[in-house]
């Protein structure tokens, strides 16, 4: 009599022993690539920035952010100031210190789109006085 062999069932197991390695690799990637925002608050929300098409990415390494609010209040390092008079040199003094620390400093403006240009012009004059000439006007990307 022929012997009927029982078919062996092949169990397929996905190896999960390296799962924790993968998870920790991902975790390390996120921990290393995360750059913490230095400002305590977004004083001018992204929705209030102007729209533009021809914009480029600005590496965060050498940047500092100046917020110019709608009421012409200027914030550097979360310290509010106003440039009402020619003698107000707070902005230029702060920027001179920053530029001494980093000669490739790029000053990024986060300005409310409804702000009067006069306030921006005053800040830029202070930047020139501080010899901080690289600037970037942060904008939202307009879909082409």
């Amino acid at each position: 009599m022929a012997k009927i062999k029982k078919e062996r069932q092949n169990y397929t197991n996905i190896p999960t022993s390296s799962m924790s390695d993968i998870a920790f690799l991902l975790l390390l990637f996120f921990m290393v690539s995360t750059v913490f925002v230095q400002e305590k608050q977004f004083w001018v929300e992204r929705e209030a920035w102007p729209l533009a098409e021809s914009i480029e990415r600005i590496p965060r390494n050498h940047t500092t952010t100046i917020y110019v609010m709608r009421d012409e209040t200027i914030l550097i390092d979360d310290i509010p100031t106003r440039i009402d008079t020619e003698e107000d040199v707070f902005v230029s003094d702060t920027l001179i210190k920053k530029r001494n620390d980093d000669p490739d400093l790029v000053v990024c403006f986060r300005t409310h789109r409804e702000t009067k240009y006069g306030a921006m012009s005053d800040v830029m004059r202070q930047l020139q006085a501080a010899n901080t000439l690289l600037v970037a006007f942060e904008t939202q990307r307009r879909q082409q």
Partner: protein
Amino acid sequence: MKIGRKRKSKAEIPTASMSDIAFLLIIFFMATTKFDVKEGIRMVLPQAAPDDAQKTETITLTEKEMTRIQITPTGLIAINNDAPADIDTRRLDAIISQKLNENGEMIFRVITDRDAKYNDMIRVVDRLKAANVEKISLSTN
């Protein structure tokens, strides 16, 4: 008499839940991370004029070399000596490309009124950058 061998109990730290912990941490980082990508229009400001007025040199430029784009407080745009008008993006592009055809090295001077909106200045500078204009001057009146 049978002498029983003492069984050594091995102490092991259970690592089965390690991946769960790691994934929990990842999800926490992914959920709390807010990407703050900096994007915008880059420019280089001119150096401040020296205090000594004698050091500055005045250069007179003609309309063939420089185009003045004036922005009024109401957002109207005046090109050179033209009257301010409501110029849309397409028309602005056409004017810029026409000026560049006349002179590839054309300097564009954007004169924004102090009471004009910042948004209007960005709109003009954006169109100039889109046309690959390199010589842009920002000023106010």
